[in-house]
Amino acid sequence: MSEERELLDRFAGPEEDLERLGRRLAERAEAEGLLEVAWRTVESPVGRLLLAATDRGLLRVAFANEDPDAVLADLARRVSPRLLRASRRLDPVVGELEEYFAGRRRVFDLPLDQRLSTPFRRRVQQQLPRIPYGSTATYREVAVAAENPGAVRAVGSACATNPLPIVVPCHRVVRGDGTTGGYRGGPAVKQLLLALERGERPAA
């Protein structure tokens, strides 16, 4: 049957056709209001980042240590399976991240879709941008700021599960003993982000 296979393979056409059709599909889907979750990847000094957004705003930032297929499957289940690779909606995010990694941006100015966080975690995460660029706060300080001083452990888990790392700066929250503490992207990434904000340029 290999002769037949060979014959049938001649219908395939080049790979670029599918890429072009895929882009066209994403544009059509966006225009017709069918693109509920758009995603793309971007290279950065902390590795490849997966970005996903709804029409409300940025929904998810994932580091390279998370399996992209698992991240997308989770978003499909929890937000919408109408999910496609599409760049345009994420262009402003990519622009601000580039400025951030170049040391030219201290505050992100992006609409966020925080529906992946529970109300308590969202409240904690909303405190985080108040920690100024280049400085840190302890888990306890954040718990006090969130008007729940007993909730140090819960603050820890709100940081550990932050669906929007970098943009919502959970990397600025450190342990009371001065050590860096855990991070969704791994401790090395956390240290790199803190060093960047201290003005030490990463070797890109």
């Binding site: 002769e3 037949e4 014959l7 049938l8 001649r10 219908f11 395939a12 056409g13 080049p14 670029e16 056709d17 599918l18 059709l21 895929g22 066209r24 599909l25 059509r28 889907a29 017709e32 069918l34 979750v37 995603w39 297929d69 997308l72 499957a73 978003l75 499909a76 289940r77 919408s80 399976p81 109408r82 999910l83 496609l84 690779r85």
Partner: protein, 167 residues
């Protein structure tokens, strides 16, 4: 269906494109049918049964969109229209690189009766069982089996003739 639609495009985009090209020829009509297929599928995706055979479902949609495309061609009514000059296998779409399979294949395909061509597309290219092909094109599964076997044999003969005349 709660899987990312992205996965359906990635896993089945190529098969659907082959089917559209086999039914409609290698031109813009096939690409439009591909786009219409996936837009319709995206619209219906959240309601699709998670146990559904996604490829067969997409091929069914492609079948309908291809019928729409043939209707839209109106009364030209050639089963597979002559491809526009720029999309022939002998030339290229601009950059000198032949981007689509050769003209021999498409002309062999054009020579098949419409039903045989669809049966070849749905069975041999998309892998649907004869019973499902019959549900799409009408008639019995046995007739669909015969049509796809006759179609693929005719294609082979035509390709062999073209190969000999080239040699």
């Amino acid at each position: 269906m709660d899987q990312p639609f992205e996965v359906a495009v990635r896993d089945h985009g190529a098969v659907v494109l082959r089917v559209c090209r086999a039914v409609l020829g290698p031109g813009a009509d096939a690409e439009d049918a591909w786009s219409e297929t996936f837009v319709s599928a995206l619209r219906a995706w959240p309601e699709l049964d998670p146990a559904a055979d996604v490829r067969a479902w997409l091929v069914t949609i492609a079948h309908r969109r291809a019928i729409d495309a043939v209707r839209a061609r109106g009364r030209r009514a050639v089963p597979v229209a002559e491809p526009p000059e720029r999309e022939r296998g002998d030339g290229a779409r601009g950059d000198g690189e032949p981007e689509l399979p050769d003209e021999e294949l498409w002309s062999a395909l054009r020579s098949l009766p419409d039903k045989q061509r669809r049966c070849v597309a749905y069975h041999h290219l998309a892998g649907l069982p004869h019973a499902e092909v019959a549900a799409l094109v009408g008639g019995t599964p046995e007739a669909a089996r015969r049509a796809s076997a006759d179609g693929i044999a005719a294609l082979r003969r035509a390709m062999a003739r073209a190969g000999r005349s080239r040699a």
